[in-house]
Symmetry: C2
Subunit: 420 residues, 2 copies
């Protein structure tokens, strides 16, 4: 096998910009550089590009272009979805003094989880954090049980960023619609002179890790809010979007100019927006479908090989309900951080979990939510494949991984012996 | 004179990315594409670039690298400065029940003004909006008079985005420091057993339009918070920064991952950050100083020529205390919007004021703040020069402007006659 220099198996953290995408955004730096809000031709040229990008994103989500708000990334989108829903709720006179209720899961990305926890700590909301089971999935019955009369928002991620498990978004969407209908009928029948117009509980999904591989038709999913990011789909960093079905249900959180119909102030990141839209357009191509199938096969090969060749290795989360590019292992008696560093020295880029909290020494909150013990949650390895991943790379990565796990186990064994 | 195709005189709205800057950011899209928060080599390579950019920005502002927080633009920086100060204040137990006071000016950019107005409307703060005088400047005496015992923040822009006037930032900074010392001594002398540790009133300046031309040494300016943007300085769109002297005085407003020491969650826009830093580095070059001098000369030539050749034309705001690239005129009996559109048809890109509110039909809040009447504030023309502006372009622009003003006056004259 020829020497492989660097193998990137961390596509859930970020992806390289596709050369086709880069070619598309290039003119928007120094040539078509206008501010889309300017009325002159330079501005109109830039706005035309933003408008076209909006149509492309909307086409992918099967929504109206006006329902798309461009942001600086999924973190901002998720903050806007939650904080914006709360602000709109609080602004209504009839809601004054009411503490609304939000339902989310224990293993959301930190940008959802921390937002909920902070608002909860500030006394602005109450939150139910849904349990996640060993398969890495939430249960519909738990969502149903968590619903309260003051619930205003349910936020459940489409695909988990660490273990790649796919949540039952369609089913939750349906449940919320039915719950709303039933309740409205019940309430209306009690008071015949009063037609209940209470708003539906909003349903938000963070689809950041889903866009590459899963259907994001917002009507099929029955979501009111959906977040996505450019840099996870071979588009640029610094750009994201939020689908908002009903803008009257959301208040902006960043104030300023009139951009994005008042939903998000700040000069449009034109190359970013154009790039994210082009990346999304690429996902729909037949070439991309073939690629995704290859990724799935390679990923299955990787999982099989690791579980077979490395003793005491385990897959975290369901294999079936899982993003085709994600593998997340744990190895008994091996600490994840040391594993990652050793892999990196051998040219294999992997991660223990979310890059966003890699600075933290805490065990993965995702794996803890699955019911793993602290030492197990510390020993995880996430390998996420991408468009460029080859079988040769997988072969090499497993070979190296096997060697390292064995060496680390030997070291920890030796250390334990010394203490005896 | 040869035919000039398109002349861009709207550099206050946005600037093209400098080819040197573009060359610098190019590798960060598809090659050095790592997520800076990843621990492996791809991530470290990206983080090294972010770190170096932070050093470059800090060098320009004469502060510590750790005092720089990267954002998605000046709008986010300004929101963070104001909302973050308020959040940190509200989080302290001793401040519960106290409505803090913020001082700003009537002619701030909308991202400061709207933020203050919205927080005021929500009952979270009280605000003093300082008057601006006909010269486009605030007065130190007004700042002093506005100070109250519950004042926590003063936010005054360095250079106004519409009329380019330069505010007395150094003097305001000094005033606030002195006011703080005097008050502390007075309070401490009264209660000898109690050492007053009340925080200094924070001083924020939006330096977005100043960075190209003015000294942004945060110690000379005596500011605690300073906002800047990439795309106004020949860097990319979608990136900005906030200087924060004391991070304990600010609470983040966007929650999520551990980026930016917890001050701003969300994956770093690596090419954007690298590009903004390179753009800032270019400003310090001697070539840039020569360029700025040329811009000043051209701008003065433009103002002189317009005021001389076009009857009933006026310059809005002080000529002396003004950014070297800004000219803002009004022409009696001429409506600004028509002027801009006519100029655009002749290939000259100009604006009536801020691009961020170009969708609005309201007269410029900046010009109203200067004491102009509604019809005067509707008739403004902002011409902002840049590095590429030539004398030939200025000659052509004035020629066209003269023709258009005359034509528009004739039309409005004819219309008036018909009504007689």
């Amino acid at each position: 096998m020829p020497k492989i220099k660097r193998i990137y198996l961390d596509h859930a953290a970020t992806t390289p910009v596709d050369p086709v995408v880069f070619a598309k955004i290039r003119p928007y730096f120094s040539e078509k550089f206008g501010n889309p809000m300017s009325v002159h031709s330079f501005g109109q040229e830039a706005m035309a590009a933003v408008d076209q990008a909006r149509v492309q994103v909307a086409y992918f989500l099967r929504c109206q272009p006006k329902e798309i708000v461009f942001t600086s990334g999924a973190t901002e989108s998720n903050n806007l979805a939650i904080r914006g829903t709360l602000k709109a709720y609080q602004a209504k006179k009839e809601n004054q003094g009411v503490i609304p209720h939000i339902i989310t899961t224990q293993f959301e990305h930190h940008c959802v989880l921390n937002t909920c926890q902070e608002l909860e700590k500030e006394g602005q909301i109450e939150v139910t954090y849904l349990s996640v089971y060993a398969d890495g999935l939430v249960r519909l019955a738990d969502v149903k049980r968590a619903l309260k009369s003051n619930t205003i928002l349910v936020s459940v991620m489409y695909v988990n960023n660490e273990i790649g498990t796919v949540q039952p978004i369609v089913e939750i969407g349906q449940l919320l619609r039915e719950a709303h209908s039933v309740e409205r009928i019940a309430r209306n029948s009690k008071r015949s002179t009063f037609r209940d117009t209470r708003s539906k509980i909003l349903f938000h999904t963070d689809a950041t890790q889903a866009v590459n591989y899963f259907d994001c038709d917002v009507n099929k999913l029955d979501v009111d809010l959906l977040s996505l990011s450019g840099h996870k789909i071979y588009g640029p960093k610094g750009v994201g979007a939020l689908f908002i079905r009903d803008k009257s249900a959301i208040t902006h959180v960043q104030s300023g100019g009139d951009q994005e119909a008042g939903m998000r102030a700040g000069t449009h990141n034109v190359p970013g927006i154009v790039g994210m839209a082009e990346a999304i357009r690429q996902i729909k191509s037949s070439k991309s479908k073939v690629k995704n199938n290859e990724i799935l096969k390679l990923r299955n090969y990787l999982i099989k090989k690791v579980l077979k060749e490395i003793p005491k290795s385990h897959l975290n989360g369901s294999l079936d309900q899982r993003s085709p590019n994600n593998a997340n292992f744990r190895f008994d008696d091996v600490e994840g951080e040391g594993l990652i560093l050793s892999l990196d020295m051998e040219g294999v880029a992997a991660s223990t979990g979310s890059a966003c909290s890699s600075g933290s020494l805490d065990p993965s909150h995702v794996l803890l939510a699955l019911g793993l013990k602290h030492e197990q949650a510390h020993g995880s390895l996430r390998l996420t494949l991408g468009k460029s991943t080859t079988k040769q790379e997988i072969e090499y990565a497993v070979k190296i991984l096997k060697k390292i796990v064995s060496r680390l186990r030997k070291i920890s064994g030796d250390v334990l012996k010394e203490f005896k």
